[in-house]
Amino acid sequence: MSQSHIDVRYVAKLARLELTDDEVATFQPQLEAILGHVEALSKLDVSGIDPTAHAGAVFGKMRDDVPHESLTQAAMLQNAPDQAQGQIRVPKVVTDA
């Protein structure tokens, strides 16, 4: 593991989060303290140990393939911040080259 260093602004960008300078200044030492605590895990011997992704996992559970009622278009659109003609409207995604 690294020495608990984290480039907060870079990681926030990966997470699609814009941060203010104040937030970066606040989060930096807090996150380094948390990662410093997490460093203790690196001292444990975990060779040959399988990872646990889910406690008491159920694998490959399928429900019967039968049609059932799902949410209506109106229900799906009721919380949309912007909509037109029964669709969700977003800013232009494809730009001219």
Binding site: A12, A15, Q30, G56, R63, P91
Partner: protein, 469 residues
């Protein structure tokens, strides 16, 4: 008033569902202005359901308050976040459908830490919730509104969610019963996901019997949640009074070390002695990886949260930033404006531990330590029927006491989050009060942990502890 007593009165015709609801609305008006447990409630909608309540059902006519991250058709579901401040649920969660099938009436939306991230409810972006036992103090969290309302008698019972202690810890701080079922016992369909390998829905109630009544109604398989188990749901009520004679109860030495408030220790030890006096055998045990639980949890839970919360992008629902320059700007600004600081911290932390170059060192390693923590419990449960411990190292702290030190706050989750990592059920029941940090008579909780799907025995032990403490 408990569910079981109200049910007797309803069946005897001494009260009506509408009278119960109107009475609750009066209590809310009288006291919740100070406590702040309710984010909203819709009395008219509840009264309409009450008019058709089937009193022959196990929860017939009983209002249940709902944490604001569980969807109820037509009602708000803010998750304590500005991002979802105006969101109206388009569907019912499975637990709501099941509560209604048992005759209950969902009533009230309970405050919580934003997206269930926190142990104090101070991370709600919408309002402060105060502990009914001392308004200067936190109710605990993240299901702080659900716990405070039951303690304040503004709710008969409530549902919360528990990812690392978010039902048990506020129950402990507010002096009520809080049950986190086994992973897979209760459907999460319609619960806004925080950390999917850890989240469970459970009840907060006045009594152990009431917790059993609600669990009976909400447990069981669900085709809409592939992690939900089809295992038969036992009768949680029939053996409730069977006592603890002959049961082996483990006391993990790692849960009674330094850092526990003396008043908490004294009350928990007294509760253990009371169970011993009823014929339980007290067995010293060890859960050797306990000290690594916090680090393990605060890798895994933020990792899963960073993935789950990527759905909040400002496109389909929730907050959308005004005048974005392009689609990327829309995502980034909507999330910046919509999320509070704790949610941002955890998203960044989770994104970091999942990022290229750090994934194995943090995330895979934490998953392996999770295996070690799970095995600790398997070894322990080969020796004992259940495990007893404090719920939290100290009683409720003052509001504003930990705002700039998230690591310190995380460390206080030490006794509750291992149960989520291991997928086992846990309950917090009141075990007396103590003075702490200038506060008088603050509630202390006893935690009981049982093997996976061992809720019947868990509730039976809790019932015995409840009588004697």
């Amino acid at each position: 008033m408990t569910i079981s007593k109200l049910r007797q009165q309803l069946v005897a015709g001494e009260t009506t569902p509408a009278a119960i609801l109107n009475n609750l609305a009066g209590e809310i008006s009288a006291r919740d202005g100070q406590t702040g447990a309710y984010l909203s409630y819709n009395l008219e909608a509840a009264l309409a359901e009450a008019a058709n309540a089937d009193l022959s059902l196990p929860l017939g006519g009983i209002p249940i308050a709902i944490k604001d991250n569980i969807n109820v058709l037509g009602q708000p579901c803010t998750c304590g976040s500005k991002f979802l401040e105006n969101f109206i649920s388009p569907y019912d969660a499975t637990v709501i459908r099941k509560l209604r099938a048992a005759g209950a009436i969902p009533f009230g939306r309970m405050n919580q830490d934003e997206f269930a991230m926190g142990s104090s409810t101070e991370n709600s972006a919408l309002q402060i919730t105060r502990n009914p036992h001392d308004p200067a103090r936190i109710p605990g969290g993240s299901s702080g509104g659900s716990a405070a309302a039951v303690a304040d008698f503004t709710a008969i019972a409530s549902l919360g969610s528990d990812t690392g202690g978010s039902i048990r810890q506020p129950a402990s701080h507010c002096g009520v019963v809080g049950l986190k079922p086994s992973y897979g016992r209760v459907s999460r369909y319609g619960l806004v996901a925080f950390a999917s390998s850890l989240d469970q829905i459970g009840p907060l109630t006045q009594t152990v019997e009431d917790a059993a009544l609600i669990l009976q109604a909400i447990a069981g398989g669900d085709p809409l949640d592939s992690t939900c188990l089809d295992a038969p749901v036992p009768d949680y009520l029939s053996g409730l009074n069977d006592g603890v004679k002959g049961l082996k109860l483990g006391i993990p030495k790692e849960y009674f070390g330094e850092g526990i408030d003396p008043g908490v220790r004294k009350n928990v030890e007294a509760a253990i002695q009371a169970l011993a006096a009823q014929g339980a055998e007290i067995v010293p045990i060890s859960l050797p990886h306990t000290e690594h639980a916090v680090a393990t949890y605060y890798v895994i839970a933020p990792a899963e949260a960073s993935s789950n919360l990527s759905r909040f992008d400002g496109i389909r629902y929730g907050h959308r930033a005004a005048n974005p320059s392009d689609i990327l700007d829309l995502y980034q600004k909507s999330r910046e404006q919509g999320f509070g600081p704790e949610v941002k911290r955890r998203i960044i932390l989770g994104t970091y531990v999942l990022s290229s170059g750090y994934y194995d060192a943090y995330y895979t390693r934490a998953q392996k330590v999770r295996t070690l923590i799970r095995r600790d419990f398997e070894t322990a449960f080969a020796q004992v029927d259940a495990i007893l411990s404090p719920v939290a190292p100290s009683p409720a702290r003052k509001i504003g006491g930990s705002s700039n030190d998230p690591l310190h706050e995380y460390l206080s989750d030490i006794f509750t989050l291992a149960a989520n990592l291991a997928g086992i059920p846990g309950i917090s029941i009141p075990c007396g009060t103590t003075d702490f940090d200038g506060g008088k008579n603050l509630p202390v909780g006893l935690q009981i942990l049982a093997p996976h799907l061992g809720e019947a025995k868990l509730l039976r032990i809790a019932k015995a502890a409840e009588i004697k403490s």
